[in-house]
């Protein structure tokens, strides 16, 4: 029974601070006055909205439908009225907003009809579709739509399922409490997942600092065969998917490859639990357990409806007076929230109140002295200082050569850096910039292709037209020879015009003229909208642009393009 464990390189051991919030049982957070449910809550395509403002919705009613297969549905967390469908600020480091459904709860918590599915007789496809429509996404942090991860990969079959109960980040205990209190649901969820991929064995990895969770899980699987609960050494980031798979199976999955290609797949315990709810009870994912801890009087875990304002959660735990900021996620990977009136999402596993004493701001950033501490700590076995050097100088090509995309942004390097460098921020900057550059490059390449294609086409068309014309002239010559005198052939000097003009005939000209007058009339109303209230510089700029457009118009005319 005792499994041989593998090791992953690097990692750190910060103070765990789990006891603060792991004592109290999971409590239900009350339904707030307003729920703001972002439409996009998973990786992949944003769901398509299904509701209109004013519409009444039931709890669990879909409000966004999955857009294609790489997407997951979103549901109303409670019953009530849709107030708006509008962009709202998201709990995201960018502080940007995106489409959200705002719901005024009616307090009745009326469910839609919940239909359990007999999963033992259902096909894997049906189950995967069901998970997609139930909005099941990874609750371990990446919110990756789970149904996609359940597709067999290149390896043909997913042999091993790894269930991630490691919860390696300090302070967070939502998975711990879930495992202690709802182990049975988790195990049933595991059974379903296992059925879908027909996995041979299941390894549940739990860090060895959570003995109660291990005991509870072991008790719950007493009957199930082939599920093994494996305590793994407590070392951040043992809960990282790749690290956990490495520790439990010895398999290393490189960046850009999926576990399924190696016959192994990893799910968070919370995900497993929500799979159980979705299939066996018919409940879509409308709530999650959130740890609220840190500098607060009553830390704990709360079953929270998606869309609940963070403020409402904070009200339950009474933050202390010296709290200076709030962190979403753990202290290692989380980010500081700009505001606290933002909604809880499926990704939100933890809210931490930070005080200077508990979470001291990192010291002054000093230059990197290439001491190598970060290299020793990096679980991805990268050379963080080199990545930093290149990211800092925006030498992205080099950063990529040093595998910046293999970085899992775990923060170990920054944690150990004696120079207090916020290394991960540089990596995120570099990665997002590179992605943007890649997008631009791809767009430019596509544009070049389309442009070249278009040039080819117009060349071909011009040639064809010339041929047609030649044929016609020849015919006309013959006709002349025959004594007739067609009108078109009379002007060989400008044959194309002669051909083209009559085609752009009177009817169309009239139409255009009419449209122009109509548009002119419209513009009276439209134009002021643009130019009204503009600063003089802005107007100057517009004039300038107009002037340039005129120039460009001239240029655009140069290629011998003919209106057809």
């Amino acid at each position: 029974m005792l499994a041989t464990l593998f090791k992953f390189e690097g990692g750190v051991k910060p103070d765990s601070h789990k006891d603060e919030s792991s004592q109290a049982p999971i409590a239900a957070a009350p339904v707030p006055a307003r729920l703001v449910v972002p439409l996009r809550q998973s990786a992949g395509n944003a769901p398509l909205p299904l509701v209109q403002p004013g519409q009444k919705v039931l709890k669990g009613e879909p409000i966004g439908a999955a857009d294609g297969s790489f997407s997951a549905a979103v549901h109303a967390p409670t019953s009530g009225t849709v107030l708006a469908l509008e962009p709202r600020t998201l709990p995201h480091p960018s502080g940007l907003s995106a489409a959200c459904v705002v719901i005024a709860p009616d307090g009745e918590e009326r469910w839609i009809e919940r239909a359990p599915l007999d999963w033992r007789s259902a096909s894997p496809e049906a189950l995967r579709d069901r998970l997609r429509d139930m909005g099941i996404v990874g609750l371990g942090g990446a919110t990756f739509p789970s149904h996609i991860k359940l597709k067999p990969g290149a390896a043909g079959r997913i042999e091993t399922l790894v269930i991630n109960g490691a919860e390696c980040e300090p302070w967070i205990t939502c998975d711990d409490r879930l495992m202690r209190e709802r182990a049975e649901g988790i195990v049933r969820g595991i059974d379903i997942l296992r059925h879908i991929v027909s996995a041979g064995r299941v390894l549940v990895g739990v860090e060895d600092n959570k003995p109660q969770a291990v005991a509870a899980l072991r008790a719950a699987i007493a009957q199930s065969h082939g599920i093994e609960v494996v305590p793994v050494p407590t070392r951040y980031p043992a809960g990282g998917e790749k690290q956990l798979i490495r520790v439990l199976t010895g398999i290393e999955i490189p960046y850009g490859r999926f576990g399924s290609e190696y016959g192994v797949q990893c799910f968070n315990v919370g995900t497993a639990y929500s799979v159980h709810r979705a299939i066996e009870i018919g409940e879509p994912l409308v709530s999650r357990i959130v740890t609220v801890s840190g500098n607060v009087a009553r830390p704990g875990n709360f079953e929270t409806l998606i869309g609940t304002p963070i403020d409402a959660l904070l009200a339950l735990v009474a933050p202390k007076a010296d709290t200076d900021r709030y962190i979403m996620g753990g202290p290692m990977m989380g980010f500081t929230l700009a505001r606290t009136d933002l909604p809880v999402t499926k990704a939100a596993n933890c809210i931490l109140a930070a005080s200077p004493a508990l979470f001291p701001r990192p010291g002054t950033e000093m230059p990197c002295i290439r001491c190598g501490a970060c290299t020793r700590a990096c679980p991805a076995e990268l050379q963080p200082h080199e990545l930093y050097w290149f990211a800092r100088s925006k030498n992205f090509g080099k950063a990529q050569e040093y595998h910046i995309f293999d970085c899992i942004e775990c923060g170990c390097c920054a944690y150990v850096c004696p120079s207090n460098i916020r290394l991960v921020d540089y990596y995120r900057f570099a990665k997002t910039s590179m992605r943007a550059l890649e997008r631009e490059k791809a767009a430019a390449d596509a544009a070049r292709q389309r442009f070249e294609f278009r040039n080819l086409r117009s060349e071909r068309e011009a040639k064809e037209k010339a041929e047609r014309l030649a044929a016609k002239t020849a015919a006309a010559r013959q006709a002349i020879a025959g004594g007739e005198k067609p009108a078109a052939a009379a002007m060989p000097a400008a044959p194309e015009q002669a051909q083209a003009l009559p085609q752009l005939d009177e009817a169309k000209k009239a139409l255009i003229a009419a449209a122009i007058t109509r548009a002119q009339a419209q513009k009276e109303g439209v134009q002021p909208k643009n130019i009204d209230n503009l600063a003089p510089e802005k107007q100057a700029e517009i004039r300038e642009i107009e002037a340039r457009r005129a120039q460009v118009r001239e240029l655009a005319k140069t290629p011998p393009e003919e209106p057809v």
Partner: protein
């Protein structure tokens, strides 16, 4: 035998063309911003410089000296070098378009690399025979390539450094070259008989 070895060691390390003889500096400064280009330039120069050394020797020995035309050395050498460069370019283009793509833009620059003229002239000054000329030319070219590649790799790294503004770019590159030159002085004495 050791004499030939010392010629090569001397040309590569002790009196490195760039750091010791101070030749070939324009390409050294100009095409060392990236490691990749440095390698390309090094390879191209090695070929041309070696052949130019041999050709210079032959011209001097069999055309100029017998006719008392030493004053035409500069002119005949440079013309031959220019032709050689052109020829190299054509040959490479013909035999390996890929290599040509990589080296293409550097080849013409070689004509104005004064090491390519300087080394054959030094060969004459040092009274080298044909083999010695070839070795000296090859060694100098290897020394040039070595300097160029090391410098290129350093400059790539320097790009990330927070160099004070007036020193950004060529000034710090010069200073780096100076320090490299000091480091190369460590090889002093290695080309002597013991």
């Amino acid at each position: 035998m050791t004499g030939y070895l010392f010629i090569v060691i001397g040309a590569v390390l002790v009196n490195n063309v760039v750091f010791g003889r101070v030749l070939g500096l324009c390409p050294f400064m100009g095409v060392s911003k990236k490691l990749e280009t440095a390698v390309g330039m090094g390879a191209a120069t090695t070929f041309v410089l070696t052949v130019a050394s041999g050709a210079g020797y032959l011209i001097d020995r069999y055309l100029l000296v017998p006719n008392g035309l030493e004053y035409l050395r500069t002119l005949s050498f440079i013309i031959v070098i220019a032709g050689l460069v052109q020829l190299t370019e054509m040959v490479i283009q013909k035999t390996s378009p890929l290599l040509h793509q990589v080296l293409g833009i550097y080849l013409p620059l070689i004509t104005t690399n004064c090491a390519v003229l300087g080394v054959p002239l030094l060969n004459i000054a040092f009274k080298h025979n044909l083999l010695e000329s070839l070795l000296f030319g090859f060694g100098s070219a290897v020394g040039f390539s070595l300097a160029l590649v090391l410098f290129g790799s350093l400059r790539e790294r320097l790009e990330g450094a927070d160099v004070p503004l007036p020193f950004r770019g060529t000034a710090i590159a010069m200073i780096t070259a100076g320090l490299m030159s000091i480091a190369f002085m460590g090889f002093a004495g290695l080309d002597k008989y013991h």
